[in-house]
Subunit: 232 residues, 4 copies
């Protein structure tokens, strides 16, 4: 996908995919972790409970809105202020390098067979943050109360994934290692909509790395990550 040859392919087998919430036991035992992409972190955490409990069809849509820092710090006219300010645009419509991570990780926890993801990222004019709006058809008529209970149970012991009671926004996670998750049942359309919000530079990047390191080294998982979101 990335169009490079891996320089140390012998390590690939040993490496563990480090979305801590789904792979804590493996992370604990490995000496090599592959940090997840910022987009899959938001999309997979939003959909994993529904996929594992089998309440949706295995075809999911992840519509992501990302701040510009997700693109890194490259000198490119397309990332310049005047091009991006007061502008919203989709990209990667012919396939994004993060797509295989979605399918692989959702399928790994799936009770409904292989999961296929349609993923469309969008640049919106902010520095940080990813808001993911995920859509899937409900197969068994789960109610809002049942889905709420299912999500709260799934993330009950997770220090960084609160299931929030109102629609999240990226600013509520700014500078923190949290990923807020908010499932909504659209009864009329038979659709599950799950929103997640995170800071792509913390939970979507360096924060996740620290979290994995803490687990690997037997430290408190939250060590160095007790960051209060900065607002406004």
């Amino acid at each position: 996908v990335y169009k490079v040859t891996h320089p140390y392919p012998e390590y690939l087998e040993e490496a563990v995919y480090g979305l801590t919430e789904l792979h804590r036991p493996e992370v604990r035992k490995t000496r090599l972790v592959a940090n997840p992409g910022c987009f899959p972190t938001g999309g997979v955490l939003a959909l994993a409970p529904a996929v594992r409990e089998g309440i949706i069809e295995p075809y999911v849509i992840v519509d992501a809105k990302t701040g510009i820092s997700g693109a890194g710090r490259s000198a490119d006219v397309k990332y310049s202020f005047s091009e991006l300010n007061d502008n919203a645009s989709p990209y990667g419509l012919n396939g994004h390098r993060h797509l295989p991570e979605f399918d692989q990780e959702l399928t790994a926890v799936s009770s409904i067979g292989p999961v296929k993801t349609v993923f469309v990222p969008h640049l919106v004019p902010m520095t940080r943050g990813i808001l993911s709006t995920c859509y899937a058809r409900l197969t068994n008529g789960a109610t809002q109360a049942q889905v709420d209970e299912m999500y709260r149970e799934f993330y009950r012991d997770e220090p960084f994934v609160p299931v929030v009671p109102v629609a999240p926004s990226t600013k509520q996670t700014w500078g923190s290692n949290e990923c807020h998750v908010f499932p909504v049942v659209n009864q009329k359309a038979g659709m599950l909509v799950v929103i997640s919000a995170l800071d792509n530079l913390v939970k979507g990047a360096a924060g996740a790395g620290v979290q994995n390191m803490n687990v690997m080294f037997g430290l408190e998982e939250t060590a160095g990550l007790e960051l209060v979101p900065v607002y406004p």
Copy 2:
């Protein structure tokens, strides 16, 4: 939906829904036009060709990203700069007042029976612009080339709805009466994704009103609307 009693219900029957591109003959003959909402304009123009030609299932998703001016000019903390800058958030998850317009208008041109829309609008930190990302499952395996041809044909004589060759962005329509439409076939997932971009204060509001007035009064439809998008 709006929770008010219409003060002149006797006029309702006479009024024509003024999405000019779909209702030009009726607009020409009426003396009363109901201007469409800014969100339905973007979503319906994106999906109408596919719905009329019957290449998708009648269940569609419209994920919209809107600038703040769409909320009007009210004094409310939630529209203040510090709350919205560097922030993205969904709203109206329990139903938006524009939802019935989507279903009504898409159903009116449908060759696949009543259309059901899931509509999720999002506030992103820009002044103007609506980017709508629309999703629907393809039913007959249409190719990208076929869909391109179908869309270009549908909007061939429309002065304000170019079918664009690359992914659109809201800034490309800033200050103009244009709605850019861009259909993408995701063959692997069997999904049609259509992006549309418009300026909510022109094509999504006053511009559409002028366009209808021009048609009603037998003027050149583009009179007063030959606005070049302002960039950057």
Copy 3:
């Protein structure tokens, strides 16, 4: 100042400095105009009346706040969205290439001898617009009413330089060829403060070029420039 050798120095003598409001007769007769920089346009229009009437000391400060498009469309990390969003910074503190234009043009209209300018530009996170706040000490105790009258008289016949009755903002000139000027007498400190606002991509660049062309070719000076500022 620009550290290049002029390729056609023989034309330099013939060229006229094209701040139309101050050099209309010369522009009318020339076949070569040097378009003014965006910063001097704002600063010189703000201070010219006071300098010509001799009500201030010949030492002036121009503190300018500019949108990012003034930097051109170069691929440079320092102009990227994430560096500039939610950020304000000064630059050119050791001399800006526009500085000689200030001194030359203010001195040309001066009744108080050579004028010396301290010019500090600042990048603020917006796409367009220059707001110039200019400071100079009053020498003869002019009152607010006298200064207002003097400025209105100076720009009485100018189509693009309204002396405005309230503090201007850059957005009020967005997309137009206008430069709003607002003089304030600070009686207590014996200081004249003049604010000007313009769109650096119109009155500060291409619009000024069209204005000069109109004058050179004997056209209506406002031809092609009757642009209404876009708001919001």
Copy 4:
């Protein structure tokens, strides 16, 4: 200035003006501190060394650029996103309530008699941050090296006021209790320009309060304030 009657005037005499860097001994002994305004903090810290050492005239200009959160969290159309985005504007041109604080505090450390301040604040489209550009005429021809030395000496033991070696920007102080100070000698114009940058919600508000509390209670002055600026 604030047009209210103080409810407990008997406490006024006891209260100490809490710009810690200038009043540490008094803060240590008092039980009542008046927290300084966000604008005076930036302007006074920028100019205090020059005023105390007497190298400038006692007439100073403070041109401040502030993020919107400085206005508080009120519901007012003038603070709404669409009014402020892509906009810069001055305000308080007929006197700002913070003005007396400038004169009082600069005069208190002055070796050149009473100091008179011209203060013009500007709203620029960012959430946090105040950049103050301060101007004063040099009276004794101090060189850049001398001024640098003087400023570094003045703030040598201050944990929160680094004299920085390059032009500061507000984002470099984002979320921290730091006020960056950068003096520049403009030899040609005989002018001292000092730039300061701070986060109006930390050093300009709550952070300053904590700093004073630490001093009053005999705690480590930096306790709870070892905040690393968040970037980008």
